[in-house]
Symmetry: D2
Subunit: 140 residues, 4 copies
Amino acid sequence: MFVHDTQLRVRYAEVDQMGYVYYGNYAQYFEVARVEALRSLGASYRDLENAGILMPVSHYSIDYIRPAHYDDALTIRLEVPELPRSKIVFLYTTFRGDEILNKARTDLVFLSADSMRVRRAPPAITEHLAPFYTKGTSKN
Amino acid sequence: MFVHDTQLRVRYAEVDQMGYVYYGNYAQYFEVARVEALRSLGASYRDLENAGILMPVSHYSIDYIRPAHYDDALTIRLEVPELPRSKIVFLYTTFRGDEILNKARTDLVFLSADSMRVRRAPPAITEHLAPFYTKGTSKN
Amino acid sequence: MFVHDTQLRVRYAEVDQMGYVYYGNYAQYFEVARVEALRSLGASYRDLENAGILMPVSHYSIDYIRPAHYDDALTIRLEVPELPRSKIVFLYTTFRGDEILNKARTDLVFLSADSMRVRRAPPAITEHLAPFYTKGTSKN
Amino acid sequence: MFVHDTQLRVRYAEVDQMGYVYYGNYAQYFEVARVEALRSLGASYRDLENAGILMPVSHYSIDYIRPAHYDDALTIRLEVPELPRSKIVFLYTTFRGDEILNKARTDLVFLSADSMRVRRAPPAITEHLAPFYTKGTSKN
């Protein structure tokens, strides 16, 4: 299975008056984690968009366990549980050191920008991911 | 059951380069809907916080059906499916006219600011909500 | 001179852990004020963009006098000090009741979306604004 | 003079439907640059706040020259033009490679959190900055 870690530092703007990262701001962190995970695979979300492939989010859910605070150094662990077809699922765990702060999931759909219709995952993604899901091997 | 509608206009800052409201920004819309729903009941989230009651979000999920665009006039329909105890559940449906754009849910926990421990929903909320859940009556 | 007031309520997400509206968030409020001011004139920024006219901001400045807090009801007073040519200047004053919280200015340039070159202000804007600047009269 | 560079990658959420970084989002980038510049000096904004010193922004101005786009790698060059007393001035230049995208300035005031009154810059800042302003020497 493909797993990737992204490091992030909490910005002042992202914290609310409880002193917590605002509950809506994790969606941005997970987007950064997706982009960096794809980049680590050699796939660029920017290039995908320029090639006419959009990836809107169709589902997002998050369970908050502990709050993150201003200036915390966070690790977002991202997993892709299975090879994508017309949809790609990402699972996230947010860590501060060894502490788990939350767990989340996003489902993204592959769309052709010209027709705005669902399409299959492009080779730019599946070819890079496939080695992580070959039967009988363990790449990560 | 308690139901409340809030009107919102999509801001330019909230739309991404797909021309969609960024998937993370609905969390803010739902927060506005919660605050306005409480206000319509005579309960102010600001007063609750000043009285030492925090309401962090413990769960958030959303299913995106259609995107919202810049300058769209949206209606957030909020429902409280049951009388809260130590947790309050809000259900949301985002409309543009008659079209449903997404459906979401948040769970919020009642915390005492001094002890940071879970507590029961304060009377400021339950007393105003109770009439909507009396058996055999229909207030909304 | 054209003057327009927009009402806004501070969102929880917009406040930082000092309990102040984050200094970067006023830019969004002023954008809302611009859009509502144009709408009041019968000009829609959305229609302008669809007609191929972009209005990027070339300058922004703000002097903060007092902070705004969560749930504050704010009034953004917007003024257009002179009829625009290839640039439009907006001046803003943020009020909470009678208190002035800050004063700001944005300069926006008119661009043709196809050439990305500067162009004159479109009639959709100047025709609606002109009556406010006719010599010897006072429309506002 | 003290000069510090911070690297940033533009997030999808930060770009508007013109494909530009939204004009209001640079304020966040400059905040990150301030925090990282202080950290490089051995001063932590988080520690300052915990020690009861707030630093609200009293003035912010920015001139936009070229837009930044999604996924751009930016460098924020921060300068502190003079040793702070009760106010600290930061100057910023945003680069994408060799291109200058914008130039900005913020003035921050030192406040005592308990009295909310203006105070002198704390030694935690001035002691680290002083060596950069000693007459006849050049530290940077």
